[in-house]
């Protein structure tokens, strides 16, 4: 993992995307307020940000960072197959499960560090942009701060490990990234479109809510089923975290199984 420039670049992106997104979100109400002053459609003064809005601005960067973390996970493993480095790796240590686990450990550690630092930067930035001048009202869930600040980076680690598993499953950069984007972006999109097409497939809400991206939304919102009462089953934030762990475990298990049996070269 060391001396690999692209790894560091992707980790830097994971870290910096978060404050960048937070900054954009925090500036959006100011821009709107500015427009309102000109058109008299919006109040000229900023309203105090609610706790929910504040923390959603802090955690907003985790969504684009999730994509980068997943791609990083794919590349950490799959790029070894584009050259001959996998041969070097496996002739140094032929225990493939152990190789994958070691990569997973380093990947998890570095992703967590980058995500945690990025989230703390987002928090500081959101405090400067949203709270200092206008103040913040309490969040609807008093634990939301802890869920987002501590749980958010851990969710990113799960996405990175999911990417690692998919990289091992496909053993190709394009294939692994395709699978990852398919699961995180295309699958919820397709389910969302199908759900909107006809009222007879309301049950699709449940698989939609179980997609990785939807689980991240649920987790970071920190709310439980009360928010969606009367509209079918909705996982609570901690259930979303657990289901995301299952997704990651499934991808890693499949990747390990295929990688252990694959012919190399």
């Amino acid at each position: 993992m060391f001396s690999l420039r692209s790894t560091w670049v992707l980790l830097l992106i994971v870290m910096l995307l978060q404050p960048l997104t937070t900054g954009l979100m925090a500036c959006a109400p100011r821009v709107l307020a500015g427009l309102g002053r000109q058109t008299s459609q919006y109040p000229a003064r900023l309203m105090p940000a609610s706790g929910d809005v504040f923390w959603s601005a802090v955690a907003a960067g985790l969504f684009p960072a999730m994509i980068v973390a997943g791609i990083l996970g794919v590349l950490v493993f799959a790029r070894e197959f584009s050259g001959a480095t996998i041969e070097s790796t496996l002739t140094a240590n032929p225990r493939r499960g152990m190789v994958l686990m070691a990569k997973g450990f380093v990947l998890a550690l570095l992703t967590w560090l980058a995500a945690q630092v990025g989230l703390l930067l987002s928090w500081i930035l959101a405090t400067l942009l949203l709270s200092v001048r206008s103040g913040t009202s309490p969040a609807s869930n008093p634990g939301l701060a802890l869920i987002d600040l501590l749980g958010g980076p851990l969710m990113l680690v799960l996405f990175a490990l999911m990417g690692l598993g998919l990289g091992a499953l496909s053993r190709s950069k394009a294939g692994g990234i395709g699978l990852f984007l398919g699961l995180t972006l295309i699958l919820p999109l397709i389910l969302g479109i199908l759900r909107g097409l006809t009222p007879h497939v309301g049950w699709l809400q449940i698989p939609f809510r179980l997609t990785p991206t939807s689980l991240l939304v649920t987790f970071l919102s920190g709310v439980g089923r009360t928010a969606e009462a009367g509209r079918g089953w909705w996982p609570t934030w901690w259930q979303a975290g657990l289901i995301m762990m299952v997704w990651t475990a499934l991808c890693c298990a499949l990747g390990t199984l295929v990688f252990r049996r694959a012919d190399i070269g």
Partner: protein
């Protein structure tokens, strides 16, 4: 000692290896030679646990590679010289491998010195030539001071100085009692360094021998003749005992009305006398020394086109 025992492998409908067996003994350099697609790489990859065999096994000092407790201390392998990450410098590449295998980091400088890469140790491996990559790959293989070496196409890209250094290292390893298995398509290069020879073609072992014996058996004299009267030539020599006449395929130097022959088992002078007495016209008639490369090709093509060769020999 490296033991390859009845390895068989299919890729789809193609049989890549068919009960391949041989031994690379301690204290000897074993040349593993065969044309492209013969099964050399598959054999080595199976031995190193990269490819799963359908049947058979490969053992290093009695153990399969994947069960070795310290692989780099038992086997040093070079399959593809460009196996380091291009963004990584040579020293860091070796340091990482040493760290993974619990090898003293001081060993890195030793192996860099052995292969002559000290001056470029801090350059990224992406800027390395093929020859430098070969040296780096050998340095990595030597890190654990292994008892067995497996090297594929290790002559490729080497300049004369690099090749000489490599030969010195392989000789030195063998003289220390280690087993060195060198795979290549180039028998002449292998013969310069190897003690034993294993020839493979189409997934089957054709010959297991020593280089000395191979040279002794195959570097025999023969006569090369080109004549526009092939029937007369065959008739003139038909009664001579112990002579074999092989019609060679035409080449660009052969006149269109002539045929090429290899005559074996006959002295040059007496054969020339017989042909002169019989009035056989000859365009070319000369003593031919069969090269190592030619003998190797004959073995491979002989086995491949046995039926064709038989019909040629009956001419």
């Amino acid at each position: 000692m490296i033991v390859i025992d009845s390895l068989t492998k299919r890729f789809g409908s193609r049989k890549a290896l068919d009960r391949v067996s041989f031994t690379a003994r301690d204290g000897r350099v074993t040349g593993f030679v065969g044309p492209k697609g013969a099964g050399k790489s598959t054999t080595l990859r199976i031995a190193l646990g990269l490819v799963r065999p359908d049947s058979g096994r490969a053992l290093f000092d009695g153990q399969p590679f994947v069960r070795l407790s310290s692989p780099m201390r038992t086997v040093g392998a070079v399959l593809n010289p460009r196996n380091a990450h291009p963004a990584c410098n040579a020293r860091n590449h070796l340091l990482a491998l040493a760290a993974v295998n619990g090898i003293d980091q001081r060993r890195v400088n030793q192996v860099l010195e052995m292969v002559g890469l000290q001056s470029v140790a801090d350059k990224s491996t992406g800027s390395f030539s093929l020859g430098m990559s070969q040296r780096l790959a050998l340095a990595a293989a030597l890190l654990g001071d292994p008892r067995n070496m497996v090297l594929e196409d290790s002559f490729d890209g080497l300049d004369p100085e690099g090749a000489e250094r490599m030969r010195g290292i392989w000789h030195s390893l063998a003289s220390q009692g280690k087993a060195v298995l060198l795979s290549s398509r180039k028998i002449n290069k292998l013969a310069e360094i190897a003690d034993d020879l294993v020839i493979i073609a189409k997934g089957q072992i054709l010959e297991r021998t020593t280089v000395a014996r191979f040279i002794g058996e195959h570097s025999r004299d023969s006569i090369y003749a080109v004549t526009p009267q092939p029937d007369q030539l065959k008739a003139a020599l038909a009664t001579a005992a112990g002579i074999s006449i092989t019609r060679l395929p035409p080449d660009e130097n052969c006149p269109p009305d002539a045929a090429r022959f290899r005559i074996q088992g006959a002295p040059l002078a007496s054969t020339a006398s017989i042909l002169a007495q019989e009035g056989v016209v000859l365009y070319d008639f000369q003593q031919e020394e069969v090269s190592l490369e030619q003998a190797y090709k004959d073995i491979i093509h002989g086995r491949r086109g046995a039926r064709q060769s038989d019909s040629e020999a009956r001419l």
